[in-house]
């Protein structure tokens, strides 16, 4: 139908591409321009200060803890949801999506109310020398919270689609539960898991709101890259802010590439 009305076809194409250009492509392109406005050397120097490098290190720590934890949980939880029946399954299924729906700031506040100095567990933990809020552990908890659903949500449909005939065959032939999982289930779901891991990593790298609330944003101690970028912006160090944004944007582009690869592998598997 569109082919018979070239005007409508080009009109729609123009509208869609124009919208994407103005909202997405040009603004993202601007970061490159602004970051290198005063030369590549200045940009490089601004993101290699000790505080910036510490922020980078802390961001890696967040990802290195939150993503593996959520991956193990995600695969296990998806197996339970698809392969077993139990009371409260619908409730568990609904709970998984909560981190997608809750504001990051609300997540941060909730963690303060549990682990802060006047929180439920906070006074006990502080008495025993464990500081969670305004320290790295709280930031890790916030990162885990926001990136929790990704792996579950990507693995559940894959498990449903592959069915359990192969697993049953393996079990009939005498494989143990672990062997069945490692040799039959895991190879079948691996691209779904990869896709979920990529999404969770992207979120963990870039989380700002939840981490900002619980971190206390102390330079060189509790700043991840997004917090550092924010701080530079507040201090009118715009070259630093844009160069830091560029680092994050490049990570996002790598993520995007990984998303496309794992999605293609998943649909061709």
């Amino acid at each position: 139908m569109a082919a018979r009305h070239p005007l409508g076809k080009y009109g729609l194409r123009f509208a869609a591409l124009g919208y994407l250009t103005l909202l997405l492509m040009v603004p993202v392109g601007m970061i490159f321009y602004r970051a290198f406005e005063h030369g590549a050397g200045t940009a490089w120097d601004s993101v290699t200060t000790p505080d910036a490098l510490h922020a980078l290190y802390l961001t890696v720590v967040m990802v290195a803890i939150a993503v593996p934890a959520n991956t193990v949980f995600g695969v296990g939880c998806a197996l339970l949801l698809v392969r077993t029946n139990f009371r409260g399954k619908a409730l568990l299924n609904a709970l998984i999506d909560i981190p997608f729906a809750v504001s990051p700031v609300v997540i941060g506040l909730s963690l303060i109310l549990v682990y802060g100095s006047t929180g439920w567990f906070g006074s006990y933990l502080i008495d025993n020398g464990v500081q969670v809020i305004f320290a790295v552990p709280g930031m890790v908890l916030a990162t885990i919270f926001v990136s929790l659903p990704f792996v579950v949500r990507e693995v559940v449909p894959v498990l449903q689609e592959i069915g359990d005939e192969q697993e049953q065959a393996a079990r009939t032939l005498g494989a143990s539960g672990w062997q069945t999982f490692r040799r039959v289930t895991l190879p079948a779901i691996r691209w779904g898991v990869t896709y979920g891991v990529v999404l969770a990593t992207a979120r963990a790298l870039g989380e700002f709101g939840a981490v900002a609330v619980v971190s206390g944003h102390i330079s060189g101690q509790t700043e991840t890259i997004p917090l550092w970028v924010w701080h530079q912006f507040q201090n009118f160090n715009s070259t630093g802010a844009y160069a830091g944004s560029l680092v994050l944007a490049l990570l996002a582009l790598i993520t995007l590439f990984a998303m496309n690869v794992s999605k293609r592998k998943e649909s061709s598997a």
């Binding site: 919208y19 970061i31 077993t84 998984i96 809750v102 700031v105 909730s110 109310l113 970028v229």
Partner: protein, 279 residues
């Protein structure tokens, strides 16, 4: 699920207990413990805090004029944003599925960029282009237009990615039949295509709405957070937390949480409805 239990009944009992009963029980316990510790206990603490001073204190907190202004802006901006998303998201999905032009694959993979890009970067990118030092001479920084733009940026993929698969599966024979019977393109779209797409559009819109009312990172820089003017609910909560008034922050948070949960419920209902009524 019914197909699964069908195969279960035929297979010998030893095989079906996958994973073994002990493993499943242990797994269930671990999963429940993890999600309780990470998600449920914090949200319970939030709810308890908001109810600490009783109904009166809760009501005072959410009817504080600054809170009301922030909530009103959040809701109105989110409604504008999802309305634009419904139209533009469907248009983009349509162009990506039915049209073909060089670079389509590139544009298609670019749609997910707002999901991959940290929200703080989203705010900075928009500020770089449409802020005080704008190279194109448009300065909307620290206005309500900036709030809407930031929300449009971060919610862009939801409707597109919800509509695309439905549109791909749609049978084109009906459209061709309608067109051959003399229906104009717009009529075909409104009477044939739109009814099939509406569940997908609604669930995309609900996700975008839930995201909009909670968005924080991209708004912090771009909106300037001016109370009564550009301060949205999540920024208001952030301010309350920073100044130590956690009880009123918790009350507004619970309100936001409830709206978000209603959205999740709506998505569940729509997807169940569209499953039952076929496509």
């Amino acid at each position: 699920m019914s197909a699964l239990s069908g195969t279960r009944a035929e297979a010998p009992p030893r095989v079906v207990s996958w994973p073994r009963l002990g493993g499943a029980t242990l797994g269930r316990g671990l999963v429940t413990a993890y999600i309780s510790l990470m998600v449920l206990i914090p949200l319970a603490a939030l709810t308890a805090k908001s109810a600490e001073g009783g109904m009166g204190a809760f009501w005072t907190a959410i009817t504080n004029p600054e809170a009301i202004a922030a909530l009103k802006l959040t809701l109105i901006a989110s409604l504008i944003v999802v309305a634009i998303n419904a139209v533009m998201g469907t248009t983009i999905a349509w162009v990506l599925v039915r049209d073909s032009f060089p670079g389509k694959g590139f544009v298609n993979s670019l749609i997910d960029l707002p999901f991959a890009l940290p929200t703080i970067v989203a705010g900075i990118t928009l500020l770089a282009l449409y802020g005080p030092k704008s190279p194109v001479g448009i300065d909307v920084a620290y206005t309500r237009i900036a709030v809407v733009m930031a929300l449009l940026f971060v919610t862009l993929p939801f409707v597109v990615r919800a509509v695309q698969p439905t549109l791909l599966e749609l049978d084109r024979e009906m459209e061709e039949a309608a067109a051959s019977l003399g229906a104009r393109p717009l009529t075909v779209f409104r009477r044939i295509v739109l009814p099939s797409l509406s569940p997908a559009i609604i669930s995309g819109v609900a996700l975008a709405f839930a995201r909009s009312i909670g968005e924080f990172g991209s708004l912090g820089l771009l909106s300037g957070n001016i109370p009564y003017k550009t301060e949205v609910a999540s920024v208001f909560i952030f301010g309350q937390v920073e100044s130590g008034t956690t009880a009123s922050a918790a009350a507004v948070s619970v309100l936001l949480l409830c709206v978000a949960l209603v959205m999740l419920l709506l998505i569940g209902l729509v997807s169940r409805w569209s499953l039952r009524h076929g496509r």
